[in-house]
């Protein structure tokens, strides 16, 4: 993923992102930190192609995003798993169906994915809630369903917007282990969070956003034994 001098403003409003320039190598793991309103969610929207930049260029998977047709953009999004801050679960579908959604859209046969989806939900601690509708689940449970949906298709790129905001520390660390497992399999991971404590428990580089500008920094505390993560790659300007 390569951002080159990217700026973003909504309509005639002020610039949310200013001259953002960075490059994430395949298989890297980054946190994205910054205060509320710094532009984390906007930057993620650019990454999962929900927004086009006002200025600058974005390359994803070796292709210029600006030249993508709607159909090609949809195919590219299948390579991206997203955990939304507000979960965006479909209320009329069960947890199992919500998680299976990317697989179904990807054309996989429903009967073949059931076991895989059920195992994943069990892994995130929702084995007893496979058929529960989202509105009957707690905030933390909904968040785990959203995470399972984001990772179920083993995306090349995983983007998570405050994925641990509604769970306790023990579950938060467990979920980050899940992201690391996925990262070990080759998935590029970007996690936006304002939880500096959590960031400090892992050794991954941090993209720091302040007032629409980005800087790369290291997490102040590294704990390889705890995270078990491999050396990360990435650069920012």
């Amino acid at each position: 993923m390569r951002f080159e001098d990217v700026s973003l403003r909504y309509g005639a409003g002020p610039e949310i992102l200013r001259h953002v320039d960075f490059h994430l190598e395949p298989g890297s793991f980054h946190f994205m930190a910054g205060p509320s309103g710094a532009g984390k969610s906007s930057l993620l929207k650019l990454m999962y192609l929900a927004q086009r930049p006002s200025d600058g260029g974005i390359q994803m998977f070796g292709r210029d995003v600006a030249g993508l047709s709607r159909g090609d953009a949809a195919l590219m999004r299948r390579r991206i798993g997203v955990v939304f801050q507000d979960f965006r679960l479909l209320d009329h579908l069960s947890a199992l169906e919500n998680v299976a959604l990317p697989l179904r859209i990807g054309g996989q046969r429903a009967d073949k994915v059931r076991k895989h989806v059920a195992e994943l939900l069990a892994w995130v601690g929702l084995a007893d809630h496979l058929h529960a509708l989202p509105q009957t689940l707690s905030g933390g449970q909904q968040q785990r369903v959203a995470i399972a949906r984001a990772v179920v298709a083993r995306p090349n790129l995983l983007l998570a917007d405050e994925p641990t905001g509604n769970v306790d520390d023990r579950i938060a660390v467990r979920l980050l282990y899940l992201f690391e497992e996925l990262n070990k399999l080759g998935t590029t991971v970007v996690i936006a969070t304002h939880n500096e404590t959590l960031v400090s428990r892992f050794s991954h580089p941090v993209l720091r956003l302040t007032a629409g500008e980005i800087k790369l920094s290291r997490s102040p505390a590294m704990s390889p034994a705890m995270t078990g993560s491999r050396p990360t790659k990435g650069s920012a300007a």
């Binding site: 709607r70 949809a74 579908l93 169906e97 859209i105 990807g106 429903a110 989806v117």
Partner: protein
């Protein structure tokens, strides 16, 4: 559970409630229009075949010459090449013809009735009508030759008008179906905007979203179409039964042939197909305009 067909909760929409009923009414009207068109066509065909090669000659009654002129006209007719037969209608036959207008046992004998001669001509080698008319009027001035073409022409005009109206009704039904489905689909796109956005974000193409709308439209239109067709068939059976009890021979025959019955189910299928294609195109067009 994972075999759920739609990710969009379209069944909960208002369109699910009103669309089948509207389609039912439209298919009902279209089916009746088509059956009327078939009936009108049958009437024309029946009368055309029934009157083919026949004509009627009316010889005015003359008090001075009695039936002599009529006999002369009859003899002249029988001598004309191309006339296969000519016979004077008897009083009983005339009474039967007048019965629908004058009632049973009417004293029509007191009326100045012309003598009627039923003529059958050779259709392969018909006589020259102009010469025949001239010859007969020489024998009996005021004689009228009626080859029924004028009456048949009016009947044909009427039948064509009925068929035109039927075609218009079917066309309007089709246009209404398209408009309704466009409206319902746009409403669905608006109501489910957030769900559609999410589907796009997890990789759905426009055609994936369109397939859900088209399947929904197909289901609703089929449901309504079958209902409308059933109502139309019941109506036709009822009216055909009433017509069957009537002696009015000019009224259309609404009893359908098996082949015609077998074509009727195509109507809801075609309407459902129109609804499906319209829903798909509406979704693709609407989503295609998005950035």
């Amino acid at each position: 559970m994972l075999l759920r067909r739609t990710d969009l909760p379209l069944d909960r929409d208002a369109s699910g409630r009103f669309l089948p009923w509207l389609v039912a009414v439209m298919v009902y009207l279209a089916a009746l229009a088509l059956i009327c068109a078939i009936g009108a066509n049958k009437v024309v065909t029946r009368w055309d075949q029934g009157l083919a090669g026949r004509m009627t000659v009316q010889v005015p009654t003359s008090e001075e010459e009695g039936d002599d002129r009529a006999d002369e006209v009859l003899a002249a007719l029988q001598a004309i090449p191309g006339v296969r037969s000519a016979e004077t209608l008897g009083t009983e036959e005339i009474a039967r013809l007048l019965e629908p207008w004058l009632g049973t046992g009417a004293a029509y004998q007191d009326l100045p009735m012309p003598t009627l001669i039923a003529v059958r001509i050779d259709r392969a080698a018909p006589p020259d009508m102009t010469q025949m008319r001239r010859r007969l009027t020489q024998i009996a001035p005021g004689t009228v030759l009626d080859d029924h073409q004028s009456w048949l022409g009016k009947l044909l005009d009427l039948a064509r008008s009925v068929q035109l109206v039927a075609a218009l009704v079917v066309g309007l039904v089709g246009a209404s179906a398209v408009t309704m489905v466009i409206f319902a689909t746009r409403m669905g796109l608006s109501v489910h905007g957030r769900v559609i956005e999410l589907l796009h974000l997890v990789g759905a193409q426009d055609s994936y979203v369109a397939s859900q709308f088209q399947a929904h439209a197909l289901r609703l239109a089929l449901r309504g179409g079958v209902l409308g067709l059933l109502m139309a068939v019941l109506t036709v059976l009822l009216v055909a039964n009433l017509l069957g009890q009537s002696d009015a021979v000019a009224l259309p025959d609404l009893s359908l042939l098996p082949i015609e019955w077998s074509l009727l189910p195509l109507l809801p299928l075609v309407v459902a197909l129109i609804a499906m294609v319209t829903a798909r195109l509406t979704v693709l067009r609407t989503l295609g305009r998005m950035p």
